[in-house]
Symmetry: C2
Subunit: 349 residues, 2 copies
DNA sequence: GTGAAAGCGCTAACAC
DNA sequence: GTGTTAGCGCTTTCAC
């Protein structure tokens, strides 16, 4: 048949269809300047020959590669998985392919990957939980290279991004605990180099202050979003003079650690201590007691970001905007009134 | 500086370093025929100019693309996530990039993707939980296109594959239940078009027969590996004349459904009914009671498969082999002796 | 409307 | 050892 490796190229199609290969290219790219009959004939030939375009060649010749790059910090948590699901389901509807990169939480790799991808590999980039986007957003924007940031706030720059209202979520969760009657509320932060972590801490503090409850430094433990932090933070809280009656972990993973620590201390949830998380990962509703937490619309964030990127890809100068999706407090079984309040109730009347 | 879009090519590097661009190509490909000094000079120039190879062009020109394709059924379960983690961590050590495709459980898409990828996009393909590999393994093998199957058994063909000992795992789990004293053990199957599902069912049946316990058809429910199947299967079991004292679900997702159903019926685990799963997904140890399950070394499977692929990639005619990793019964809190046995204990002595 | 020709950035075969 | 050359499969002028 053909030279080697039964690879079908536009040349093969062209010969078979009795046209020049330039015309075949036009058909592929839906160019208007092709006679309908010719187009029809070429398309049939392509099908008959099982022709598939070579995207490398397409991209190299100056076209699009139809590949978008996805940069994530890691694959360890269900958190990222949810976002990827959203991206994937949206991408499946288009005909873009996905190139996945993991920075393994190494901030320094980030910019390197981004530039390498932007140079020629992909048509656009999606960045989940970027560590230091300032390193490259400027350059990317200058080159007019399409990209969207997912779950990142904090850069003053206005670049395309989708996130969740972390501040509001943390505020609401804290306020809910206060309304239950809690006054001593321990807070375990995420990595404070991440905007989301800062916003959550901020929401907690503001809620406390709004209700005139002092924010005490020994009730704030600095974590990194990893499960063990929840454990050690809790241990530390349990050792302060007047331990908290509720603990708010900046994500569900750490909340799991909190739960373990409380249990290991022979205390009961929510009777002795209430626990609240953030994210609403699939496990949250599965653990017993089911975890009260702040739900982030992760999958939807992935979806939206992808839609934005696709839009930028087609309409080159659509202005960048930042979308913030609402978070939602999911009240389940790990939170209750503090014992003191329960006792009061019985005594006072 | 250069023509357009400040893209640095080998030509730029060549001019800067005063060599021909062929030499630069040699340096890139670690060709031996380059004088050490020249190599050094070229490498420095590449760094100074921030040069990055264009992989599209590399692949097009007949070289490798340094991209491997990963085909997964979907991203919904932690199951696939674990495998991907293994793949990713192994790939990070090499300098291959990852292209991710989701078939969304559409078996028909599988072969299409595979051929499209194999045509030119990637150097090798990793297939997780393939639905009907027979459609393409033959062709791929004939073309000598590198690929590895993950978590699939059943094709008589001997193609490179890594899986887990599903049969043995199911046998052991069932036997464990029998030894606890259970005789009526409900079994919920996975999608029986998957080799793994068949093997697990088989392991269950064999264990029962080995211990001379009849395999009853109303204690076998045909599921699809999805959580709701666990729920409906359990409801059905609970309605048979003599309900099972233990339920073995073919994966942890379905086991979660089983747990819900049992709870909704006001029964306790493991007191009234023991539950056992398969896979040991992260949630398994997190739910209460912690789920007894058969652990599959998912991450390791991903790792191993990747190593195999990389090996095939470098050593073109390494003979294909199939690796089967051992499964391991993780005994936790969702299994116990059946009530009857517990009662007997107290009465007989 | 269609064909011909010039690259895109690179590898690999062949010279010297 | 290093330079030269011919493609890889495609897009995109520019002719006609």
């Amino acid at each position: 048949m053909n030279k080697r490796q039964n690879k079908i190229t536009i040349v093969d199609v062209a010969t078979e269809a009795n046209v020049s290969f330039g015309t075949v290219s036009r058909v592929i790219n839906n160019d208007i300047h092709v006679k309908p009959e010719t187009r029809e004939r070429v398309q049939q030939t392509m099908e008959r020959l099982n022709y598939v375009v070579n995207r490398q060649a397409q991209k190299l010749a100056g076209g699009r590669s139809n590949v978008i790059g996805l940069l994530v910090p890691d694959l360890g948590t269900g958190y990222i998985g949810e976002i990827i699901r959203g991206i994937d389901s949206e991408l499946t509807l288009s005909d873009y392919d996905l190139m996945l990169y993991t920075t393994h939480r190494t901030a320094s790799k980030e910019a390197g990957y981004v530039f390498s991808l932007a140079q020629d590999m992909v048509d656009g980039i999606l960045l989940v939980l970027p560590r230091n986007p300032v390193d490259y957003t400027g350059t990317l924007a200058k080159k007019k290279f399409p990209f969207v940031l997912i779950d990142h706030q904090g850069t003053g720059k206005d670049c395309p991004a989708v996130g969740a209202s972390n501040w509001q979520g943390a505020f609401n969760a804290t306020d809910y605990l206060i309304q239950l009657g809690h006054k001593r509320i321990g807070f375990i932060t995420g990595s404070l180099d991440l905007g989301a972590a800062i916003d959550r801490l901020d929401g907690y503090k503001t809620a406390m202050r709004t209700r005139h409850i002092p924010v005490e430094s020994d009730l704030i433990y600095e974590g990194t979003f990893a499960q063990p932090d929840g454990y050690t933070g809790t241990i530390q809280f349990l050792n302060v003079e007047q331990p908290p009656t509720a603990i708010f972990a900046s994500n569900d993973c750490m909340a799991m650690g909190v739960i373990d620590a409380i249990r290991d201390h022979g205390l009961k949830i929510p009777d002795d201590i209430s626990v609240i998380g953030f994210d609403d990962i699939p496990q949250a509703s599965l653990v017993r007691p089911a975890l009260t937490t702040v739900q982030q619309p992760l999958e939807q964030m992935g979806r939206l970001a992808t839609q934005m990127l696709l839009e930028i890809l087609t309409d080159t100068d659509s202005k960048p905007h930042r979308i913030e999706l609402p978070t939602q407090l999911m009240i389940r079984d790990s939170t209750a009134k503090p014992k003191a309040v329960q006792a009061n109730r019985e005594v006072i009347p």
